[in-house]
Amino acid sequence: MIEQLIQFLDVVSKSPHLPVLLIAIPLVAAPLLILIGNRKLVQILSLIVAWVVFGISVAMLGRVLATGAFEYQLGGWPSPYGIVYRVDHFNAFVMLFVSALGALVLTYSPPSVAAEIPRSKHYLFYPSYLLCMTGLLGMCVTGDLFNVFVFLEISSLSSYALISLGKTRRAPLASLQYLILGTIGATFFLLGIGLLYQITGTLNMADIAEKLAASDAKRAELVAFAFMTVGLFIKMAVFPLHTWLPNAYTYAPSVVTTFIAATSTKVSVYAFVRMVYTIYTPKFAFETLPLDRAMVVLALIGIFVASIAAIYQTNVKRLLAYSSVAQIGYMLLGIGLATEAGVAAGVVHMFNHAFIKGGLFMVVGCFALRIGSVRLEDWRGAASVMPMTCFAWAVGGLGLIGVPMTAGFVSKWMLLTATMDAGNLTVAMLMLISSLLAVVYVWKVVEAIYFSEPSEKVKAAKEAPLTMLIPTYVVIGATVVFGCWTVYSAEIAQLAAKALLNASGVVQ
């Protein structure tokens, strides 16, 4: 029996159809689950789907590491005529952590969903979640530019719906604000794609790259680049286009916040890196256009403004939301360096931050379940009744600050050395100072939960259920593991950065 199972898995993992199964399984599962409509069954089936998707991502990363990048032609139409899904080190790596967090957060979700979302909506919640995951993975896997737009909208529309499920009346408003900004961003992106299509007559990314190198429509290229950059900056929540993010993260249900905070903005960063390094060239973005200087300035202002804003928050979800805006700044700093070390640092920070922020929001979800509040004054003295949950916050917080032996240290160290190598000492100094701000807002929470008299709400609370604590500790544990052992994080990121820079301009 077990032998047969292993044999079966072996055959499946060698299947050439993995890239399309990654998308097709959750996409088809979502409407079917709505038809099934049974709350318990939907929950179990979506959990299975999420883990299957994770399995496919692992198999694809394995294949990329063994044999290099590979393509899947939808319907057998060869590129550039048909749509191709192209898997290389970079997107296999991004898909791995997106699907891993998708599955882990879903495993963690049942008690929190039961507490925060009306029972009658559960059978709709899980399919929306799967659709959001489909959209995010689709943005990564596809090699067709228009496909990126479609998947971007699939993930965005489902995340608007998910955010609006929040308990307070502020949730629909936050969701609508995100919808308006998000749609403007996506439409800008679409406009950019249209202009690129007008120049090149193709939508295949590799083909566009080739044709752009030969084209002389410089002004149209610039306009297309500008529209796509602004569109993606909105989705990435780069300062000053981040205004949708704090409200959306604060008022969404905890599970939704956890998933979106851990994955959504990173996938937009991925799309941006693809655009700069695969479709255009870093030379175009950073020499013809001074985008690198603009990015460094925006990133640094973003890091400082958002970190300082985080310090003054009393709502922990909002505190972490502002911290997310700041962390996007670090990724941009790395990507804007246009050196192998810099890009690798940016990419690995995507991975590490996904786990750190995912883990911290999972802790917030545990508190929200047991204390019934995410306000800091209600959390005071929580360590006396919820020691496990509080310890997870402490470890995750250390990761966010970037203390050695945690994942946050690995990426910040790589970023720091890359910045120093590029000869930019001022930026390196500012980065170090900004990490101190993270110490302040993480410590603020640690002080409240460990060193204060228990509040009334805490006295009535008890430790979070194991079904939530175990996934939380898996994610938090991962931040420590990847802080000490970087074979599958930093090293893959380095391979990805190398491939991106070698190809920069022309893929293959």
Partner: protein
């Protein structure tokens, strides 16, 4: 800029006007429904841009929608079908494999025509066809636009139920009172 180029770019002026109108409504309007409609106008302008780029115009030749007349299989023999092949050359980049074959045939036909006589070649160049791909892309984008509008309006219904108003400043006022 000569009047000809100005009027030749007519569609693009409309696109820009619509886009700016829509964007202005989104930014300036406090009424949530108006914001969503502005967003809709903004998206529509992009649809128009795509469709414009797919559309061919020509002062001499007939330009029409890319519809095969008389079917693909039996078209090689007759003259009127050659025009289709020429049109397919114009969007060769996106032709599927089958279309690619057809294009090859067309090239072959054209070279034959070169040998055969000027009359033949003239007929071949008579009809041009628009590129269907941008229109097809826009079908997808329109669906996305409808989904966005529907979701936005549904959210506004919920906001109206909770706050009793759809004016953004009044809603923010109500929230402040609460705090």
């Amino acid at each position: 800029m000569t009047p000809e180029t100005f009027f030749g770019l007519f569609n693009y002026w409309i696109v820009i006007c619509l886009m700016m109108t829509g964007f202005y409504i989104v930014i300036s309007s406090g009424n949530l429904i108006k914001t969503v409609i502005g967003l809709n106008i903004f998206q529509t302008s992009v649809f128009l841009l795509y469709i414009t780029m797919g559309k061919l115009t020509d002062p001499v030749k007939r330009v029409t929608a890319p519809i095969l007349e008389g079917g693909h299989g039996d078209s090689h023999g007759d003259h009127s079908a050659h025009g289709e092949h020429v049109a397919q050359v114009s969007f060769e980049e996106h032709a599927s494999e089958q279309l690619h074959d057809a294009v090859k045939h067309a090239h072959a036909d054209l070279s034959e025509a070169g040998h055969g006589g000027a009359e033949h070649a003239h007929e071949v160049a008579e009809v041009l066809y628009s590129n269907p791909l941008p229109s097809v892309l826009m079908l997808t984008a329109i669906v996305v636009g409808i989904a966005t509008t529907a979701l936005a309006l549904a959210l506004i219904v919920r906001i109206r139920e909770d706050y009793g108003t759809i004016e953004e400043d009044e809603i923010l006022e109500l929230d402040k009172e609460l705090q």
